[in-house]
């Protein structure tokens, strides 16, 4: 390691520590005042690290691909339909599912902050919360899709949903060809997080992941 690299590393480390110390101090204050129990904070973190993630949304999408009645119900009332699925039912009252078709591609953004269907997809990725996506998704969605190496036919309608209230939008991507007869579990493996935001497609069957 050169001197320059070493210096750079230390610089990053001290910046991180400053924030880290501030966070620790705040947690100490909140704990000492009797506002929060640290094990309760641990449990919240653990839930988002282990239980709540895109696999929840993938299960919903795979079921919609397999079960036409469920798909109809999901598009009619996302909250109610997802509520019938047991452990992935915790979506609150405001889930709207929007379907991609050969004619129309849907894409979700929150230009004002970071609204995102946490219960379906987990915590949003950094890019979703950052200025480049938030600023450009509503003005140049094809350009944004190009940043994801996604390109659509010129005539495909693009519909951008800006999450400006408490409604949460989940994109139902198109089922990949070549998956006839697949089980819901197999199909769920193809459903990526980005395909449910509208910045990607599901995996292609048989392609290396």
């Amino acid at each position: 390691m050169t001197d320059h690299d070493h210096h750079h590393h230390e610089h990053d480390h001290s910046e991180l520590s400053e924030t880290e110390l501030r966070v620790r101090a705040l947690e100490t204050i909140l704990t000492e005042k009797g506002y929060v129990d640290p094990p309760a904070l641990d449990a919240i973190i653990q839930a988002y690290e282990t239980k709540i993630g895109p696999h929840n949304g993938a299960r919903v999408v795979a079921k919609a691909w397999s079960d036409p009645a469920f798909k109809r119900a999901l598009l009619e009332d996302g909250t109610k339909a997802v509520g019938t699925l047991g452990h992935v039912s915790r979506v609150g009252d405001h889930l709207v599912v929007v379907e991609n078709t050969p004619q129309r591609h849907n894409m979700v953004v929150c230009t004002l902050c970071s609204c995102y269907p946490w219960e379906m997809l987990g915590l949003p990725p950094v890019w979703y919360k950052a200025a480049p996506y938030r600023s450009r998704a509503v003005k140049d969605p094809r350009g944004v899709l190009a940043d994801f190496d996604v390109s659509l036919p010129n005539e495909t309608e693009i519909r951008v949903w800006d999450s400006t209230a408490e409604t949460r939008f989940l994109v139902l991507p198109m089922r990949p060809a070549g998956t006839e007869g697949w089980s819901e579990q197999q199909l769920a493996e193809l459903v990526t997080r980005d395909s449910m935001i509208g910045t990607g497609f599901p995996k292609i069957p048989g392609a290396p992941s």
């Binding site: 991180l16 924030t19 880290e20 501030r22 966070v23 620790r24 101090a25 705040l26 947690e27 204050i29 909140l30 005042k33 506002y35 929060v36 129990d37 309760a40 904070l41 449990a43 919240i44 973190i45 839930a47 690290e49 993630g53 915790r90 979506v91 609150g92 009252d93 405001h94 709207v96 230009t111 004002l112 902050c113 219960e119 915590l123 990725p125 950094v126 950052a130 200025a131 480049p132 996506y133 938030r134 600023s135 450009r136 509503v138 003005k139 969605p141 094809r142 940043d147 309608e157 693009i158 519909r159 951008v160 949903w161 800006d162 999450s163 400006t164 209230a165 408490e166 409604t167 949460r168």
Partner: protein
């Protein structure tokens, strides 16, 4: 407020940079901040709209140069001090120096974790019939409130079509200022890109926002 957080349509922020196999948190402190915000909100120290407002009123240079969870931390500290749950002396000492202020829902403990995994309910009983219905043409008002609002600048003054009636909901503009739920009808309103961005915009693009009734006028 017309803050830097209202980013729709701004130029110059560069490419979107997806991170392969991104972890839930990039450092342990990020998780602590997220959990403290969720816990203190659930305990009744503030509502979700107030917490959004406190991030929006960070100075623009701070907003733009801070990471996501740094903004959450700064907003949380400011909010807890303003609402009297934490004192400046506590922060300076790094310990509880002043007495605690009772929380509306009491201490946040392990028993409360399950309930916050279910999203809050924002639907409220209607105070009046809905003024608009799907298919109606509406204009987003040319309004510039100095405090929290959820009507982004890029749609103001433009004409769109009501697509969905999402029911009567808590009005963030009121809730953020702790002025009550003030329930309002909420609609998905869809705009052509050419209406928003001019005749050279991509004619295949449509953009929708969820707009509360006070944001809209009939055309």
């Amino acid at each position: 407020m017309n803050g830097v957080h209202d980013m729709g349509g701004m130029d110059g922020f560069g490419k979107v940079e997806p991170e392969p196999n991104e972890p839930a948190f990039h450092a342990a402190w990020e998780g602590r901040v997220m959990a403290m915000v969720r816990a203190m909100g659930a305990a009744g120290a503030f509502n979700i709209d107030t917490s959004r407002y406190y991030r929006e009123i960070l100075p623009p240079d701070v907003y733009l140069s801070s990471s996501y969870y740094q903004k959450w931390l700064l907003g949380l500290e400011d909010m807890l001090i303003d609402k009297g749950y934490v004192s400046a002396g506590d922060v300076a000492a790094g310990h509880a120096a002043a007495p605690a202020k009772p929380l509306k829902h009491g201490k946040f403990t392990l028993d409360d974790v399950e309930r916050i995994m279910v999203r809050g309910k924002f639907g409220r009983e209607a105070q009046a019939p809905a003024k608009f219905k799907p298919g109606d043409r509406v204009r987003a008002r040319n309004m510039h409130p100095a405090t929290h609002t959820r009507l982004p600048r890029y749609v103001r003054g433009h004409v769109g079509v009501v697509e969905l009636n999402l029911g009567c909901n808590v009005f963030p503009d009121s809730a953020a200022m702790e002025a009550g739920d003030n329930p309002q009808w909420l609609y998905t309103v869809v705009f052509d890109a050419t209406e928003l961005w001019g005749p050279d915009a991509d004619p295949t693009v449509k953009v929708s926002v969820d707009a509360f009734e006070p944001y809209l006028e009939a055309v």
